[in-house]
Symmetry: C2
Subunit: 321 residues, 2 copies
């Protein structure tokens, strides 16, 4: 135990210095849910990174966009972390070989750390683990953490909660099938990007989005940009990076960055409490020998899960007062 | 209150008889999270429907497949409920006009009830609400409840927990971009369908899937079928419905249906307890005036959310003993 502790403390020192191998090891531990003590130790060293979420449907070119943004930031001597939560991302090995080679090329540079979370347990906890990993990259001194998520489920909405700025990426051809998805994505967008802007229909999509955003209640002081990029040709990236900087400035100037981050910390704390209670519930609240009887009675419709849940929850809540 | 109660009891009687207008009203109440008392009352009348999940990437033709299956089942004098959790589904108004017309046509038939959940609050609770709605349709006397989900996030994995049989639908052209998703989907599949089977590459996909499933640990007594359909032409649907029946028989014969349903009830109960505790946590555990101080301290890194969560969770857990 003593020795394990010592190693950890050394690890943390190396992590704070940005040692890539140590980052990788700690990220893995955290992904496996083994890093809570570590997370406690590194927490005081966090809060310095700016977190950017990039979300959109499969095939929107999110990874190419992330790569382009990352290269610009690296060019400005910034340290960049990338977390890909999208299983179809080239970062996760899920796309065409050419894309994957481009990513590998990027990963070998200094000042960058890339991690794909795609293969990690899909049944739950992915969003939780992503938040923890983002914290590790924050402690490791990354100026920017870019989080790529697939924009169709709930995970990306959940992850948007740890991002200071969320970029939503759409492409002309995704058309009707994502029409409906847009509704949910528009709500979390701070910057909209129409990628593959050289394709037919991109102007129409930009107009549609402008119309959609006119309907939305405006955030005071932030005129949501709708940008056209062709990431594969590196077109429009400069404007996008400028928009990112503008949003960062806007958040800082208005005090919104601090205010939002405080809210997010409270939310995170609630999640962590829930996680602990969940583990407790599944293991210990109902004695082993009663569980079988309980399942039997619910199956036979003699008891119902809603009422049982109410009773148990009340007992727990009363106890906590 | 008394009057509200009376109305509810009448509503339940009509629900059990399968009155479509009452189903619609109760489903809406449940979606809005207002139906817990109702759910308690109807629970004794549930457990008779067979729940089938249909999941796959956008554009795989899930809705057309669901429509075809539903029509077959209706033809055998079965009552069918359909829940679309996929925002890109024509059931949700998210697809081409032709598709939508086909769906509307189906919705007008007797013995069928269709509900789209797509527009409901995306930030969470979608999977939970879907489970409650499935229970309502169960009580309303549906022989089969078909649940269509988009196969890319966590929602469908969560919903798979209430399905007796899960059909995973893929199409040849989805290709590389869903390669990675397959891993997660394969785990929950009881039946695999390659839809749009008249297109190029469908045979290759079938072979790939056969290979993938050979690697997977086999479930005793169930030889997972990999079927080719062209739902738009109604091809292969008969085989699919036969496979569904086989799986239902397999589950019943081996006692797995009962066993799995018991497990799912326990899981559901845990979820319900968690939901109650979550609501409680967000509202009452920490006094209002302490919250601001807490956020401030966490933001300044004087306190950390992991440690605070541990403390509060311990207090709650200790109290519940």
């Amino acid at each position: 135990m003593e020795r394990f502790r010592a190693v950890c403390m050394n690890d943390i020192k190396s992590l704070l210095k940005g040692d890539k191998r140590v980052i990788a090891r700690i990220v893995s531990a955290v992904e496996d849910g083994k890093g809570e003590d570590l997370l406690e130790s590194i927490f005081p060293h966090t809060g310095r990174s700016f977190h950017i979420g990039i979300t959109g449907p499969p095939g929107a070119g999110k990874s190419t966009l992330v790569t382009s943004i990352a290269k610009r930031l690296l060019g400005c001597d910034k340290k960049v972390g990338i977390i890909a939560v999208d299983p179809s991302s080239p970062f996760s090995g899920g796309a065409l070989l050419g894309d994957r080679i481009r990513m590998t090329d990027l990963a070998l540079k200094d000042n960058i750390f890339i991690r794909s979370m795609a293969s990690r347990g899909s049944m739950g906890g992915l969003a939780q683990a992503t938040k923890d990993v983002a914290l590790v990259l924050d402690a490791a001194g990354m100026d920017y953490v870019l989080i790529e998520t697939i924009g169709v489920g709930q995970v990306e909405l959940d992850i948007a909660q740890v991002c200071d700025t969320t970029i939503v990426v759409l492409v002309p051809e995704s058309g009707d099938s994502i029409q409906a998805m847009k509704a949910g994505l528009l709500e979390i967008a701070d910057i909209m990007v129409v990628n593959k802007g050289d394709r037919e229909g991109s102007e129409r999509l930009v107009s549609e989005l402008k119309f959609a955003f006119e309907m939305r209640e405006k955030e005071a002081g932030w005129d949501l940009p709708i940008l056209k990029t062709t990431a594969i040709k590196d077109e429009g990236i400069e404007e996008l990076v400028l928009a990112l900087e503008s949003h960062e400035k806007h958040l800082t100037k208005t005090g919104k960055l601090e205010q939002e981050r405080k809210k997010k910390l409270l939310l995170r704390m609630h999640e962590l409490i829930e996680r602990r209670i969940r583990v407790h519930l599944q293991k210990k609240v109902i004695p082993e020998n009663e569980i079988k009887q309980l399942m039997e009675s619910m199956y036979k419709r003699q008891l119902n899960p809603y009422r049982v849940a109410k009773k148990i929850a009340r007992r727990i809540i009363r106890g906590s007062r």
